[in-house]
Symmetry: C2
Subunit: 417 residues, 2 copies
Amino acid sequence: MRGRAVIICVGDELLEGRVADTNSQYLRESLEPLGWKVVMIMTVADASEEISSALRFALGRGDLIILTGGLGPTPDDLTREGVAEGLGRQLVRDPAIESRLRDRFDRMGREMPPSNLRQADILTGGCEVIEGEGTAPGLLIREESRLIYLLPGVPSELRYMVEKKVLPALSLESDGLFRSSRKIELFGCTEAEAGEVVQSLLRQGSGIKASWLAREGVIQIRLWGEAADARELEGRLEDLVKKVSERLSGAVVSTDGSSLAEVASELMKRRGATLAVAESCTGGLIGERITSVPGSSLFFLGGVISYSVPVKTSLLGVPRKAINEKGVVSREVAEAMARGVRSLLGSDLALSSTGVAGPGGGTAETPIGTVCIGLSSEGGERSWELRLPGDRDMVRRLAANAALMALIRHLREGSGG
Amino acid sequence: MRGRAVIICVGDELLEGRVADTNSQYLRESLEPLGWKVVMIMTVADASEEISSALRFALGRGDLIILTGGLGPTPDDLTREGVAEGLGRQLVRDPAIESRLRDRFDRMGREMPPSNLRQADILTGGCEVIEGEGTAPGLLIREESRLIYLLPGVPSELRYMVEKKVLPALSLESDGLFRSSRKIELFGCTEAEAGEVVQSLLRQGSGIKASWLAREGVIQIRLWGEAADARELEGRLEDLVKKVSERLSGAVVSTDGSSLAEVASELMKRRGATLAVAESCTGGLIGERITSVPGSSLFFLGGVISYSVPVKTSLLGVPRKAINEKGVVSREVAEAMARGVRSLLGSDLALSSTGVAGPGGGTAETPIGTVCIGLSSEGGERSWELRLPGDRDMVRRLAANAALMALIRHLREGSGG
């Protein structure tokens, strides 16, 4: 590990929940592969006193301190002031930034508001200017052995500056070690199963570290490590990804960070086939997931939300008999829905869902969380009955993900890989 | 304002992004109406040293400090240890908690693991025990004039304890003032418009404060205040809600915290009418939103996801002529889609969407973000053309919300209220 990092997010809008903080997790994910461990995240108000006290505290906890937000031109942008106060330094106007700001406004044919000049302030006693995409430049201050970055709070401006300037600079502060990471997305195994496989492989002494994040049944494993030899490290990571993938093969969604919908989309396009959906308990969520990926119109024809029984029977041709005998939440009905929508829309493949998401509607035979997924193709119908945990919202999200995973497995079988 | 509050969230899983922190915003929303202002939120690792240093720092920043998480029985639950260290106090076993823990395990017919005994530890020097739902009791410590709460990190356990124990206790620490709040949900006006109306009304000196949160076009305004006379305060709040509602009448979704989908659902059930949807650019999202509310099967029949042109023409009967002459993203096509699905499913009302969500597909005439919403009823068709901002995901979410708002307005017009 290179050292300890503290992130300070500045902004009333974050404290008040008006804006969700996405910056701190982005920074953590960016810093970790370079060997920095984020030990604390602080969210503070737009007040010079709060910022300076948070910074002084952070100086005792971290070797790298990143402040985001509060660099704009308005009076409540006080990060520069707070940091100067915290370090006991002064603010001075930087002529180079000032002329760049004036140029920028000239090019836009606009008068620069005087308040924008505050963005040309830097700290005395050593302060590097980091040019970015927006008007607000970032600043880098060295305080004894510590690095203090002042970066914009607007996520797109932050990301630009971090990727183009901060990470390359941090990489140069080299300890001679090379760092790298990999991602594996899984669906269809438990967090405990995934954890056990990863931990048992890591115990074999690869020097690789792992963390995981589980959301809506999708488990994202991150593997990372550091070594003097880049090729050797990449080899170790590749080997580990391969071993995890082998041990959890049926559950692997991707090893390049792609989501369920992205992988399904890619496989559908490669196959050159078309897709339709028939949704009951998911109410449109499978279609929404598929069409969330740009370019889905190349293979996705559409579908039917058959939330009521008459839509299932009349539009999709689900036999009344199947509903009466097996129940509307049954593999038979799921298969008939998939077959029906495939025929109705003339698609090559079709997915379907029928289930009890709750909070009402559960019975002893089909308790809340029971979901049947159907898949129809030229070769006939397949179906799966699942018992999903969680509340209404979670059951529906898990069901949509399960349908996408069923499609992915089907497409991979068909292509032999 | 009663005073300054600092929230400390303890847990590696939060720092590492494996679990999203929902507790800090829940606590802020709960504390604010009682007069506490959250000035800082800290997220710290499961390490006694990190917890103690964060607490010592927080003692200088807040009058009320709430730590959540790290009270469980496992070795990485170190909040008790960290707080004891931070305050220079000792941990002692509390016999009453110990016997309650043993009773609980006895009732479950299970042996208590020795590690659970750690949950019976309290701090020396004055420490109140707060019984909760789970095995982990909370603790309240008074340090000079400050209140320090140690509460569970599991959201359901936290909420139970906050609502049943912490808020009532904080209310008792009375300054003789009564506090209350209201929520107004808006859609179809900008944050700036809403802000201006609220600020101009607040400037008239009601003593009420406001904050707002904008997400996917929905603006949630929170109004709160404090007064010696409860009835007078409620009157002022009611009056303000009424005035905001009058000034922004077309944009009011609810004044009781209900969401777009919940209000639409309630109005549909009251009308006793049925609904269908025909979705193109939203790909199933409108249906998903409607069916996210339990009981939607009472009025929602289903719909058609007509993502491709042939589904629009063959299944929904959209005239080729309208598509060729007006374009697939046009009010005419939106109306034909709504009419088509209403007829196909035999519903009383129908909603439709067609648009360009991007990133591809925009033209000079129909740039990315152009969305047409259609509504069909016994009285005929209506439609709206919108230019929505944001990326693909945001355009689709805004479009689904706009469709729900169109339905709400239609239902309110029809009922004269």
